[in-house]
Symmetry: C2
Subunit: 247 residues, 2 copies
């Protein structure tokens, strides 16, 4: 598969509660994992507040640049849920209560209980397709290359089950992790030479501490599994050389 | 304190490992909490890949718009650590090994162990001030309104201890949470009226599930504690009315 055919993606998290620190986001990591599984490259994430102008500006910047944009948050029934209206504004299309959305909500609510507030959750921009919500019924939607989902993790995750089959999957990125067994500084120079020798393998170096000692995970990523294997073998030789020099 | 004096902030997370899902970000939530404690409003977060053009573009967009920008990630000794050079490029200033940074690194390393790779961590853009790193010595830095910190959470958190006293603290935002004891739909309409009556209090509604039942946390936020108290009292009256109607 040619590089040009690889789908790219962005996530737009909408929520004052993430920016205030009250709620810790768990959706970005989940969506990142799901996209990696189907070979789609997540390239950017933005988190913005519950303000229409902010949502519209970020959405228009991202949907122009990437194959897909996934939004989370702001599609409930309360006054601070302004995502659907903001998406309609970004696409410059009308928005109104959608009979298809009402139908799915009637699977959970009696018609008499579909209050004005709950019907806000059935407001869908013109031309959008619904995204199923098996948890609480109120749907997400897909318009153009934008997928609008709930912010509650259990609901967002269920919605992704409906979304992923609609995406153009790519060749998956293989990934091999190697523990260097030393700090980054000790392995940085040969690692840089290895990266130069394998421009088609992305080599990441991730430092961490364990029991007060600095350690490094090296992660080799590529759509070409054979090249990863070659790079990993060379890296093991490099590590052996460093340990031999120490001994 | 007038609204115009409130400092705003953005976070720029730099790291392929977050976008691939391999690492789950923990820094945004931590920085959000620290800023909230000192009355600075976090307004936007972006996560970008380890690509110079991406970092420069995001940094220039954010530093123009907000009082402060905090970056995390990409300041280690390996080939994929390109944050310092990217920040220098964004500010269009030279970057080189900084004797002050070498001095602090000599607190941990022998001079003979300050290899070319480790000295990469002492490269600081011209005109920047160092940010102390008590964990592993290699410093962060502050240039203009931008604070450049490590991605390893323990190091980033220690750096924030050095950064926060340099920021212009604002009047803190008080916050009161009330459990509605029902789903969002049941409380949405009176809540919207309450928001209209208290334009100076930000009223957020956060749904969640517990034991399979939908619940809602209402969070009232304002720099004016008295107005929060008034709004919270009115909200308790609203809840009492809803429960009385049900009974």
């Amino acid at each position: 598969m040619a590089e040009a055919e690889i789908s790219t993606a962005a996530v737009l998290v909408i929520g004052d509660e993430i920016l205030s620190g009250r709620t810790k986001d768990k959706n970005v990591g989940y969506i990142a994992d799901r996209l990696t599984e189907v070979g789609i490259d997540l390239k950017e994430v933005r988190i913005v507040s519950d303000e229409r102008a902010e949502i519209v500006a970020a959405l228009n910047a991202l949907r122009e640049r990437y194959s897909y944009v996934f939004t989370t948050g702001g599609i409930g029934p309360t006054h601070d849920d302004i995502t659907a209206d903001s998406v309609a504004a970004a696409f410059d299309v009308p928005i109104d209560v959608d009979p298809r959305a009402v139908d799915v909500m009637l699977e959970r609510y009696e018609r008499a209980d579909l209050t004005e507030a709950r019907l806000r959750m059935a407001r869908i921009p013109e031309g959008a397709e619904l995204i199923a919500n098996p948890v609480s019924k109120a749907p997400g939607f897909n318009i153009g290359n934008v997928f609008v989902m709930a912010g509650v993790p259990s609901i967002m995750q269920a919605m992704m089950d409906d979304v992923v089959p609609r995406l153009k999957a790519g060749q998956i990125v293989h990934s091999v992790s190697v523990e260097a067994g030393m700090g980054e500084g000790a392995v940085a120079k040969p690692l840089s030479a290895l990266q130069d020798a394998f421009p088609d393998v992305s080599i990441g170096s991730y430092p961490y501490q364990r029991d007060g000692k600095f350690q490094t995970s090296i992660v080799l990523r590529s759509r070409n599994a054979e090249r990863i294997e070659e790079a990993a073998q060379q890296f093991h030789s490099i590590l052996a050389g460093i340990h031999a020099n120490k001994a």
